[in-house]
């Protein structure tokens, strides 16, 4: 009976561990599905990046470089752009943010939110540069900067979802709010 219980709890924690990845997959999908909101519909805030950023700070083991690479590559394939751009951006963001997580974890939510701005901006500019490099023609970078700004303002909403998932995970959210 005891073993059965422990295997059940193992299964439960296993499925809970997948929750973070499932949410990231969901964010990836809503990045691709055109949103019905009047103004937002034409914007593409980097939802997946928010997930990558959040987990890199609070649970880096949930989203190892391999998964970031996989998510980025899937995004590249489904979005029809040159391969490798999102894969590179997600892995790099995870790497850089993870290296700073000791500092970031001790910060209040507001700081964590504001630091997402340069992250989104850097990611947007990298995507712009690489997309241009791929065809040796660069379009105006402005739409990407607007998307980064939109991403910054939407971060609190998506982070609500991420915090909820974080709490549901085994171990829970110790550092948040």
């Amino acid at each position: 009976m005891k073993t059965r219980d422990s295997s059940f709890s193992k299964l439960e924690s296993f499925s809970r561990l997948f929750l973070a990845q499932l949410v990231l997959f969901f964010l990836l999908l809503i990045n691709l599905v055109p949103l019905p909101v009047p103004v937002l519909g034409s914007l593409n805030p980097a939802f997946v990046l928010m997930g990558v950023y959040y987990w890199a700070v609070y649970r880096p083991t949930l989203l190892p470089p391999l998964l970031c690479f996989g998510a980025g590559l899937l995004m590249d394939i489904l979005s029809g752009g040159p391969l490798g751009i999102n894969a590179l951006v997600f892995v790099a963001v995870q790497w850089i943010v993870r290296s700073q997580r000791r500092f970031l974890m001790g910060q209040p939510y507001l700081v964590m939110w504001f630091i997402f701005a340069p992250v989104a901006l850097g990611a947007g500019l990298t995507q712009w540069f690489l997309a241009g490099l791929s065809v040796m023609r660069w379009s105006a970078p402005l739409p990407g900067l607007i998307d980064a700004l939109a991403g910054f303002f939407l971060f609190p909403f998506i982070s609500l979802l991420l915090i909820a998932v974080h709490r549901a995970l085994p171990g829970g959210a110790k550092t948040m709010v």
Partner: protein
């Protein structure tokens, strides 16, 4: 460890930039595999869109209704004129023994995803090789051309939009007959390039496909010129690219009138 993945991503980037078909069958298979999920997610989103517009758009609907009623009056007159012109045109064609290219079949497809990036303008649609979609076919939305098919899977196809920086479509300025190339710029308005220097194309002129290169049939409506200055001629597409739910892919029938006549 992350460095390894960064190098891998860069390698993928270089290969896919150099060879546009890099990883093609695999990419299409992955897209096909994820299409049902995207399509499923898209359904509630579209339903939500209907509710959003129902809630926010009542005043807009009233004005739209008035505009449509006025436009309908106007079009009724045109409809009668068009009927007369068609009959006249047909009889003239018969008199002159003109061989018209065969008509086209349309494949209607639902848009299930966009590119999610401001630097690549494309749609993923739920129709593929099994429905007769082929690479290079023209895609139309309500008002006119929105792009062309650049990749096909078994059940999905990717449409590169007019506005994408990689788009080049041979077009004609309807009023002057000048040929030009419509080029996307990753902005809302594509531009006309290779327009003859002495062209008199002016604001308001209609742009239609020229049929050169053989990919697109002749005469599909593309857009109208809305600006002309030193930087170039900008064109506003007739098709609104903001919110497209369905598109039509033109299955062009081969024009073999010439060879058919001459062969024994």
């Amino acid at each position: 460890m992350p460095l390894l993945f960064i190098v891998l991503a860069l390698l993928l980037f270089v290969f896919s930039s150099l060879h546009k078909d890099f990883g093609h069958p695999l990419k299409a298979q992955v897209t096909d595999a994820f299409a049902p999920i995207l399509a499923t997610l898209n359904t509630p989103v579209q339903t939500a869109a209907v509710y959003v517009s129902a809630l926010t758009g009542f005043a807009a609907l009233q004005t739209e209704n008035a505009t449509l009623a006025a436009e309908n009056e106007h079009l009724r007159t045109w409809y009668q004129a068009a009927l007369t012109l068609r009959a006249e045109n047909e009889s003239l064609h018969r008199l002159l023994n003109v061989h018209l290219p065969p008509g086209h079949r349309h494949i209607t497809a639902r848009v299930i995803a966009d590119s999610g990036s401001p630097y690549a303008h494309s749609f993923l649609v739920l129709a593929g090789r099994q429905d007769g979609v082929k690479k290079g076919q023209a895609a139309l939305a309500a008002g006119g051309v929105i792009g062309r098919v650049i990749e096909t899977g078994e059940t999905t196809a990717r449409i590169l939009l007019l506005t994408d920086i990689n788009t080049r479509i041979p077009v004609t300025v309807e009023t002057t007959g000048d040929r030009a190339i419509l080029a996307g710029a990753n902005t809302a308005l594509p531009v006309l390039t290779h327009l003859p220097p002495n062209s008199t194309a002016a604001i308001g002129d209609r742009i239609v496909t020229s049929g050169h290169g053989g990919l697109f049939p002749y005469g599909l409506p593309v857009g109208e010129i809305i600006g002309r200055d030193e930087d170039g001629v900008s064109v506003r597409p007739y098709a609104s690219l903001d919110r497209v739910d369905f598109i039509r892919i033109v299955d062009k029938q081969d024009d073999r009138t010439v060879t058919d006549e001459r062969l024994p």
